[in-house]
Amino acid sequence: MTEKIFELNDVHFSYLGKFPALQGITINVERGELVTVIGANGSGKSTLLQLLDGLIFPDRGRITAFSEELSEKLLNNEAFSRSFRKKVGLVFQDSSIQLFCPTVEEDILFGPVQLGLPEPDIRRRLNQLTELLGIQELLSRSPHRLSIGERKKVAIASTLIGRPDVLLLDEPTAGLDPATTRHIIEILIGFHRQGKTLVISTHDLNLAEELGGTIHVFGHEKRIVASGKTEDILKDEALLQDNNLTHSHIHRHGGSLHSHPHSSATHHQQHDL
């Protein structure tokens, strides 16, 4: 029987009590599942991840994590908070915000030090991770002197070092060059193969297609408008276009102009024909 990691039931959230960010979200995330949340800018994806990470709390509805209802009171309980933070890691969309320490090394070590992990374990994990991500040379640098791609890798390292069972990633490949994107996708796929649970928000359909798994589409009304297997959802051109996830793409084939919706799945299928 599958174990539910998160259960969201009719979750509503608004900023300052008047700007709705999520309306009536009901989804489940099971252990070992790979869930991708896609939607246009401002559709509520980041808010959802912050709710799952217990950083903000719903105005209405329930979020259950590891069979306990997430609430501010529960997260203020030190024992629960420590256990929850060890199990769940969030990579923020803006790495500049996530990296707040004077050096890269201190930033990566911040989480495990706060959670009181033994020093030798922390050092061993640091060595493994920096090698995996190819960031050994960056350890003594200041985060402000890193490129966007380097910052993103360091932000991922700072979350992975806690070895969370559940990894929440907010736009993990946004603004990255193709080589860095490729490297990060491979790391995420490897992480999922180890049996970890991943919830990823993106509007990059190539990334969603490559990762596979379950997909939820967020619409303009800050609600989920469709859910299902990635391959089925990405075939639904009307759905993607209605929700600003594809656009008409015109390019030249030989001497004539050719137009089709620009989504990863449809794009590849049309070119294969």
Binding site: S81, Q98, F100, C101
Partner: protein, 247 residues
Amino acid sequence: MFTSNAFIERTIISALAFLKESVFAEEIAGRRGLLQLIEPRTRVIAIMGLILLTLLVKNIQLIWLIYALCLALAAASRIDLVYFLQRTWIFIPIFSLFIVLPSLFSAFTPGEALLTWKMFGLALTITRPGLLGAVLFVSRVTTCVSLAVLLSLTTRHFELLKVLSVFRLPAIYVMTLGMCYRFIFVFVETVEHTYLALKSRAGSRLHYRSGQRVVAWNIGNLWLRSADLSEEVFKAMVARGFNGEAR
């Protein structure tokens, strides 16, 4: 760029210069010079000791000896001496010279007259004790400033923060100082981007009234962004297990 209101542009350029300067200073701290190879805590304690000694001794020759040692250490630490002298002599020693100027004269420091001249019917006399006191003061300020600059150039800011914890400063203060330093760069970058965006759209000249309005709006905007940023950073800290107590 801002006609009749160059102070705004100068402020922005100074903010950007701070960024470049700090990057250059970090490059010096990374060189393989004499001081850079010494363990940071030892380095800080040794230089602080020299500063204390300079403040306590009254023998000018000894202070000059410490200053000569400071210059030798700067050279051995692969710091360009012209750059070092520019950094250490431009402001504080020159200001200290102005401060000490009145004490040269017999009206404030009586004693053996060295030089006397008349100006607007007043006899001005520089006395030996006045001159010696002024030289001692300026030498002391210059040596202390030079040692402090030498320490800051050869030590990365995070190493200085680590040294603070050796002096038993609570971890939360050290962490807050480190984060302040880190986010100064985020804001300086924001100022730089705003300045470049303005320059690209307004060309090389902007009426000072428009300039003032744009700058005032951006100051307010930066303030709001800093409030948002602090909230986001706090969330990022909580997400990684921070519970209000720095470790």
